[in-house]
């Protein structure tokens, strides 16, 4: 799995439950790819910030 495929699945993981196989593939890739690990944290921070946008505090 490359970075592009990983980032696509990281996005989909916010909208559906990934299969065990997909989850394993992601974790294997993230373990060796700090930029993709950053991408996951960024997606998560975006979600937190957007929820805060509508419902602060």
């Amino acid at each position: 799995m490359n970075c592009r495929q990983t980032s696509q699945l990281l996005s989909e993981a916010l909208d559906r439950a990934l299969t065990h196989e997909e989850q394993d593939e992601i974790e294997r890739h993230l373990a060796i790819c700090p930029p993709c690990a950053n991408c996951r944290k960024q997606f998560q921070e975006l979600r937190r910030a957007l929820r805060r946008f509508a419902y602060p505090g």
């Binding site: 996005s11 700090p34 993709c36 950053n38 944290k41 975006l46 910030a49 419902y55």
Partner: protein, 196 residues
């Protein structure tokens, strides 16, 4: 914490949130006049039901909940007009995503390590840059993205409202997230908001 407001306080509090509601509605509807109409309907609905407000939720949370349904009503109404959300079908190219990766699918510009924006000034900076980045999204991506991420509709519900397939929704949400993270990497980090 449950906070009881007397009717006058509640009316004042409702009016105080008009600007925030208009920002949220404008981000989704991408039409200032329609957004103003929807917010006006939201405020009128809130005032009409003020007696039933029991203080269990913050006023803003209660108002955003009403706004969500008013926006959905507007989208359903607009979907019967010539310019519809089904026009989303046109936005399927992935040129913008292609540009982010090399032939092997590796990042051309690697995502940065954001520090937790945390509280206070830095969070406000983050949120301010995020809002500017949201305004820069293509209309169609922004419309479904706001439904999903700000109004927290389930993906299936967004698909129904937008009359698009699940695969198409995945593409639109993915490109929106990629666009926003890239925009923040450039603009927020450039302002000194995150570590290199």
């Amino acid at each position: 914490m449950e906070v009881r407001l007397d009717p006058n306080e509640l009316r004042t509090e409702i009016a105080r949130h008009r600007g925030d509601l208009l920002r949220i509605a404008s981000l989704q509807l991408r039409d200032r006049h329609l957004a103003e109409d929807v917010v006006q309907e939201t405020l009128l609905a809130a005032l009409a039901s003020a007696d039933s407000y029991e203080g269990r939720a913050q006023v803003r949370t209660w108002l955003v909940g009403i706004l969500k349904f008013k926006v959905i009503d507007a989208l359903r109404s607009r979907s019967r007009a010539p310019k519809t959300l089904t026009d989303l079908g046109a936005e399927v190219t992935t040129d913008d995503i292609d540009a982010l990766f090399d032939e092997a699918g590796a990042w051309r510009a690697k995502p940065r390590d954001w520090e937790d924006p945390g509280l206070g000034v830095r969070q406000r900076d983050f949120d301010r840059v995020l809002e500017a980045c949201l305004k820069g999204l293509p209309d169609r991506s922004a419309q479904v993205f706001v439904l999903r991420e700000i109004f927290e509709l389930e993906a299936e519900e967004v698909c129904r409202l937008a009359a698009i397939t699940r695969n198409h929704l995945n593409v639109l949400l993915y490109r929106a997230r990629m666009s926003l993270r890239g925009c923040l990497d450039v603009n927020w980090v450039a302002e000194g908001g995150a570590a290199s």
